[in-house]
Amino acid sequence: MKYLDEYRDPAMAHDLIERIKDLSASINRKTRFMEVCGSHTVAIYKAGIKSLFPNLDLISGPGCPVCVTSSRDIDQIIRLAELPGIIVATFGDMIRVPGTTSSLQDEISRGAKVSVVYSPLDALEIARENQAKKVVFLAVGFETTAPTIAATILQAEREGVRNFSILSYHKLIPPAMKALLAEDEVRIDGFLCPGHVSAIIGSTPYEFIPKEYHIPAVIAGFEPLDILQALFMLLMQIKENRPAVEIQYSRVVRPEGNPGAMKKLWQVFQPADATWRGLGVIPESGLVLRQEFAHYDASLQFDLSVEERADPPGCQCGQVLKGLQRPTDCPLFGRVCNPQQPIGPCMVSSEGSCAAAYKYGRS
C-alpha cells in the first residue's frame, strides 16, 4: 500500500539499525527515550525494536488515552450507565476497563444500553434515531480526537439535536510531558513525540522541551523506518549537543499543525485541570466545554457523584505510565492480569503498554 510498504523496507531498516547501534555506542552512557503515544508503543513492540539496542532504553509514557483515565472517572461512567433512559456511546476500548466495582461490560449484562462507535458522529446518529433517550458520548482522547468531537458538537448545534451530550475526559499531551519532566524520579533523555497529535497541534507546543530541559524531541511516524529514523535523529541531537524539536513524520506533520482543526477545538472547549492515572492532577491538561456549549455537558445534566477510591490494589499502571516500571515488572502481569481478565486499563486498551507487552511477548 502506498506510504506503507516503502517505510517497511527490510534492507534500509537493517542499515539504520546498524547506524543506531554505532551511534548509541559512541555515547558513553545508556540513553533513555520515551514515547508518548499508544500507537508508537504498539508499533515499537510489533516491529521488535524494543530490545534491539543494548545502549538504548525505550520506555512508554502516558500515551494511551484510556489508560490515563482515572479510576474516579471510570466510576462516574459506570454510574452514568446505571441511570435510566441513557444510551452510553463510546469507543470500544472503554468497554472492558474495570472501575472500582464494575465495568461497562458488567453494566451491559445488567441491562445498561452501551453502543460502541467508531466516530463521535455515529453517536450523534444514535441520538437522532432515539429521540426519547439521552445519548452520552464518552469523549476520551488526546488532541487528535478532541477536534473530531468539537466538530460533532458544532454539527449537533447546527441541527438542533438536544438529546446528545458528552463527558469530556480529554487530555492534552504537552502538559503531561511537562509534568513528567518536572518529576525528580523520572529520567528522560529524549522524547519520541506522537505523530497524529502533532498533525493537529504542530511542533511549536514542544519547544519548551529543548529550551527548558535541554533534551531532544522528534515527532515520529508509525512505520518501522519512521521510528528507526526518529531514534537516529534523537541520538544525533545528543551526540552533537543541539537539542531541538525535529519532525521526522514531515509527510503528515506541518510545523503549524492543522489550524482549522485547532480553531474548532478552541471554539468548543477551554483548558481545565485534569486528573491523570498515575500522574495526578496536571494543570490545564484537560478540556471542558465552553459556557456557550454547556448544554452538551453531561456532567452538568446528571448526578454522577462517586466516592473517591484508590486504583486497583497491586496494579502498577501508574508507575508504568510514568515509565518508572515496565509492564513485566508488575507482579500481576500475565498471571493475575491478562487481556482476558484485566486488572488495570493498561492491559485493556489495545494501545496500552501492558497489553502490547503481553501480546508481543517482549520486554
Binding site: 506510504y3 500507537s39 466516530s119 458522529l121 458544532l154 498533525a199 492543522n258
Partner: protein
C-alpha cells in the same frame, strides 16, 4: 482508535469524502480538512480526515534517508 494508514479520497460530496484503503471504501468527513481534494491521501481519525499526506515530502524524506545510508556505507 487511530488508523495510521493513509487513505485515498476517491469522491467528495459536500463535506463527506469517500476514501479507499486496501480496496475497502468508507466515508470520511472533511470538516477538519476543508481543502482536501479527490486524489489526495489523507489520515483519517474517528471518522474525520485530519491531515493530508504530502506526496513530494514523502519522496524527499525517503530519498534523503537512502542517500544518508548509502553515504555511510561507502565510508565503511
Amino acid at each position: 482508535m487511530c488508523i495510521a494508514v493513509p487513505c485515498q479520497i476517491v469522491a467528495i460530496h459536500d463535506s463527506t469524502a469517500i476514501v479507499e484503503v486496501g480496496g475497502v471504501r468508507k466515508e470520511a468527513w472533511l470538516d477538519l480538512l476543508t481543502e482536501a481534494k479527490v486524489g489526495d491521501y489523507v489520515i483519517v481519525h474517528a471518522g474525520y480526515a485530519i491531515q493530508k499526506v504530502d506526496a513530494e515530502n514523502a519522496e524527499q524524506t525517503l530519498r534523503l534517508l537512502r542517500e544518508m545510508l548509502e553515504r555511510e556505507g561507502d565510508n565503511q
